[in-house]
Symmetry: none
Subunit: 164 residues, 2 copies
DNA sequence: GATACAACTTAAAGTCACTTGAGGTTCAAG
DNA sequence: CTTGAACCTCAAGTGACTTTAAGTTGTATC
């Protein structure tokens, strides 16, 4: 039974949709505050931590950098920040999210069409004659040719560093 | 003038929409074959290389992993392989994109509500009463206090290279 | 032919945001 | 009191490049 009230790190991880090592990492880089550690050495969390971490996890799921998330989180939690600045930064983050939504919808459309063409024209034949696949190799960019990453726009369409 | 016909690495990079270091990296991991090197030490490419690299770059734009791309490339070159496998890879990628779309819409809603609350409750001035979404960060602002030395050199205090 | 300079070469280290591993400690159940 | 899951720290590994350092080649101009 839990006499010391509060969530252990595993419970927090489950509730926020992440993992215990990730939580420790966030604490290490200062993205999460150091939690209380009653009795033994183990960290204990509360529902506020669940909400904060869930917010962070969502931002990370959409490729906001740790620095961006740090900015957003501290902005949301700082009562002394100028309200107008809070609103402005929130709005610009919203603009970025909306731009990403547009990009992602376009990517979904392209992929859906690709799979659809596959289903229709490639009924089990050899893949060397897979026309949708071959089409990818023909010249002319599907989207504007990728720029030098150093000049990448504010809103990259895809992260090149995501893992799966 | 180019007596030795063939593209140099920079020209290939421009035509395929990527960079020279990336091409060398792909060669190193065996995603691209080692090209001819007539005369001096420099790599020379032809139009087949442009097509192959364009294909690879486009797959990466679709956020396929390097392993997925490797699979697709060998599928494309193997006359005995099944077109259905190509479709499966595309479909699983589509599933991932659709899941991301759902999450991104949820994030957009959170941010839009935040900005909306800002606009309504914070009518200018240094508002100590501005606490929209306070429940997300009730335990106070997260300060990038003492961090792991590894990360310290990267981000001194403000984001220098705001990559995203 | 000399010279300047961009574009090329390699190898190695750096980057981001975790993830995994090794080796040990704590805690609730049986 | 023992078992075993869950916790702890610290270090090293991962993916997909990117950057850096230090040297070489190719071409255009004088």
């Amino acid at each position: 039974m839990n006499i010391e009230s509060g969530l252990k790190i595993g419970a927090l991880a489950r509730l926020a949709g992440t993992t215990a090592p990730t939580i420790r990492y966030y604490e290490q880089i200062g993205l999460l505050p150091r939690p209380v550690r009653p009795a033994g050495h183990q960290r204990r969390y509360d529902t506020a931590d669940v909400q904060r971490l869930t917010f962070i996890r969502r931002c990370r799921d959409f490729d906001f950098s740790i620095d961006h998330v740090r900015e957003l989180v501290s902005l949301l939690g700082d009562p002394s920040s100028d309200c107008k600045a809070v609103q402005d930064i929130g709005q610009s983050q919203l603009d970025i999210v909306r731009a990403k939504l547009l990009e992602l919808r376009s990517l979904e459309k392209m992929l859906a069409e690709f799979v659809d063409r596959c289903a229709k024209s490639c009924t089990g034949g050899p893949s060397s004659r897979c026309r949708p696949l071959a089409k990818l190799a023909r010249s002319g960019p599907v989207k504007p040719t990728r720029r030098d990453p150093r000049h990448e726009s504010l809103v990259p369409s895809q992260s090149r560093h995501t893992k799966r």
